[in-house]
Amino acid sequence: MAEGTTSRASLTLESTIASVNVVEEAALEYARAAGFSPDIASHLSMVAGEAAANAVIHGNKQDSAKRITATFEIAGPALKITIADQGAGLDPDTIPDPLAPENLLRSSGRGVFLMRAFMDEVNFRKLNPGTEITLVKRRT
């Protein structure tokens, strides 16, 4: 896809694991379309899946009345993904550090850390109600 091209996709999905898989697959497609290498596309897909899983599980608590939305935007050299839920919200500053010795053997708590490790930008925004997370990866 040529530099400067902007494309957009938006998905409104129910709060299920199937929806997490759909977000992963969509992220993989758009990462490829944006020209990312297979390895980076795979990381982008994984991280988008982490954000979608959080929206489904922690945010909407798999409530069948609630939806998650995912958007994908290829703008110039970057892929921007947003994932939003209708849950109670979160304070990103309170998320425990999974690298701290006392957390190293926990069986969860590595999702947001992986997002930050693999993406160039990770931002949380409070919705009313819910959380929107924005993930940006730039081609270098």
Binding site: I17, V20, D39, S42, M46, G49, E50, A53, P98, L99, L104, L105, R106, S107, S108, G109, R110, G111, F113, L114, A117
Partner: protein, 115 residues
Amino acid sequence: MSMKYTTRQVDGVTILDLSGRITLGDGSVTLRDAVKDVLTKGSKSILLNLENVDYIDSSGLGELVSAFTTVKNQGGELKLLHLTTKVHDLLQITKLYTVFDIKDDEASAIGSFAA
């Protein structure tokens, strides 16, 4: 799509040859059940061969850690064999590389168990 595995016994060690994806949902549940099953059958020396596991997410990492602590709490040992670069990198950035005993060679991995 999700994870599959086969089981082998070599010199008192149970080797699980895993393939596919260890992820939220099916893959993680399969790993948990597999390890439980081995423990139930009385084997406490478990080697997870990850050669054909090309995709792990944070749930899958969590399941690996759970399997490790479950086996350890029962007085056993769980080690990892043949990491792909992708999985290796994931264990490195999450510092889980320091938690697991990770092996490159099957024969010496088997020899390393307390027995």
